[in-house]
Each structure stands twice: as structure tokens, then as C-alpha cells.
Amino acid sequence: MIKQLRSVVYMFLISLFFASLVSAVMFLNEKKIASNQALKLQRIILKVLDIAAEKNTADDQISRLFMERVKDIRVGDRILYVGYKEDGHTILGYAFPVGGPGFWGPIQGMVGVDPDATKVLGIAFYKHTETPGLGGRITEDWFSSQFNGLRLFPIEGDQKIFYLKPAGTTGAPNELDAITGATNTSSAVETFLNDELDYFLKELWTTVEERE
């Protein structure tokens, strides 16, 4: 019986040791990871609202800028971020989180629209589990900058706000380049982003307008 007891105690001690090791490392880095996430979100929102577009602005400058220029308001089931111009009170635009099923797992992004929600200021995807180098390229600038200036209108019938076509075959302004080799991710993004934009325009936008 001792042999069994010995290995149970041994396993308990080993798991205790390694669990505490992992927790210690987690504890030390938790704040750093949290601040990374928050910073990334702020950077994305500022980028989407076209306030601080350059990639290399220092972290502290980003959070200061975010404090001054962005306020968040709760609308329906989401948090909307209202961006202001330098003077601090004329509205520059609104940013709201979007999300939906990608090829491998959920994709989350942020969409920035002008004050009267007729045009897209900027779009960025920041959380996904797509294949690195393939679907994962939705986070790259060349892909997200295509959406800048996209005309927005609530969807009637099957006519979509934008389409993702294979690279090089795009014609109309609302036909954008899909990621070569990642047809699955591209079609996934096209579907859920259209629905989210439509949802925003139809449900959320009306409440935002009254608030003004």
C-alpha cells in the first residue's frame, strides 16, 4: 500500500510545485499582460478613429491621448467609444467592437465611423486564432486600411455593404481584396462584418442619435 501512497503524495507535491511556479510567473506578468491588452485596445480605438495612426507612438503617449480624446458610453449590449477633436468637445467619430466566427475561432475587431455614421473611418482586427501567415494576416495594415472611407448604409435585400473578392478582381469601391490563400477567413470576415455593420446602423445608431 505504501507504494501507491508514495506516488500519490509524489504527484501531489510535483503538481503543487509546478502549479505554484506557473502561478508565480503568471502573477509577475499579469499586470504586464493586462496593460498590454488595454494598451492594444486603446491603440486600436485611436487608430480606428484616425486620431493617432502611426504605429510607433510611445505607450504612455497613447494612454494620455486616449484619456483626453475618447469617452466610452454604453449603448444596447455594447460599449461605444466617442472620439473628440483636439478642442475636446466636437465629436470626431464613434468606434464600436465587432466580432464573429472566423475559420478557426472567433475574430474580434473594432470599427470607427464618422459622426453621422455614413462613412467608415477605420477598421482593425485584433483578436483571432487564424493560421499564422494566412488568415492571421487580417491584422495587417494593407488589409484593414482598404475599409477606410467605405460608404455605410443599412442593408436592404441581399445587397451587401462590402464584398471581399480575390486580389486583383476588385472593381467597385465596395469590392475589396480578400487575403490570398485564406478564402475561408476572408469569406467569414465578409459575412460577420456586414451583419455587425448592419446591426450597428439599424439598432445602435438610432439610440446614439437621440442621445445627442
Partner: protein, 207 residues
Amino acid sequence: MPNLPSKKEIFLTGLWKDNPVLRQVLGICSTLAVTNLMVNTLVMDAGLIFTVCLSSLTVSLLRKYTPMRIRMMVQTLIIASYVIIVDILIKAHMPDISEALGPYVALIITNCIIMGRCEAFARNNPPLASFLDGLGMSLGYSLVLIAIAFIREPLGFGTLLGIRVMPENFVQWTIMIMAPGAFFTLGILAWITKYFLPNAKNSEERT
């Protein structure tokens, strides 16, 4: 105690003679997934080298105390803990890389090389030898990964480490970015090595 080859020998076997990927056909899963971008490959290699060396060292340190029936579970626990530490460190200090690698960092846990080295070598050899064996094996693995990425990224994206290497009018081979490209590249690489080095029995030399 097997007759212990000198430290240098252990290291070299891993590096080339018994190269894990090409010769023993181990650790293929993560090899193919991340090698379409050199940046991801380098981070994956670093993560793997860190994990293989430390796991081999720990398993070897504990080899006399681990009860036999639960040795497999203890080894998985050790490996998983090191991989999570790697995952946390990458998330904290290299957030965008961790974004790009996605689930593949966690998949290092099941990389057959680590478990293979722990079971085959670390479990019955002294710590320093196991550490070196782990180092040799993981470097051997990283070399192959880098070789594959060296082929796949330029052909697939026309860039290497993000810098444009291919001429402007180069049409990207999208197949190289996707799964089939990875299979073909590794297949051809394995073919070439087998062609030049049929696994000759290593002759035992004596003075």
C-alpha cells in the same frame, strides 16, 4: 548506465546524425504549421529549445524519485508547465508575436520531440548529458524548421523576415503558404537527406 558517449557526441547526434525531424520523423506537427513565416518559426524554435532543454533537465533530475507507474503523467505535467511559462512570457513581452502564433505555442506541449527525449534519454541519464541531448535535438529541429521557412516564405510571400526578397513581378505561390506547400517542402527535404545519407549504421570506432 549505457556506455556514455562523450558530451560532444550526444550534442552532435541530435544535431545531425539522428536529426529529430528528418531521421526519426518526430515533431512534424508544429514544423509544418508555423513555417510559412520566418519570424514565427524563430519564436517557435526559441520556445521549443527552452522547453526541451529544461524538461529534459528536470526529468533527469527527478529520474530516481519518480514512481514508475505515473512517470508519463509527471513528464506531461513538467512539459506543460514549461510551455505555459513560455506562453506567458511571450504574451507579456512579445504581444504581437503571440497574436500571430495563436494556438501553436500551446501545441508545443504535445510536440513528440520533447516527450521522446524525456522518455528515451532524460529518464536514464545524468542531468548535464540530458540537457545537452535536449539542446542538440532542439537545435537540429530548429535548423530544419528554418530551412523550410527559408523555402516557404520567399516563395509564398516574396519576403524573408518581412523584407522583400523576390523581384516585384514575382507571382506569389499561394500553395506554399497553405498546408499542401508545407507537406511538399518537408517531403522533398526528407527525400534529399535520405538520398545523400541513407541511415548508415554508425560504426563503433576504437583506438
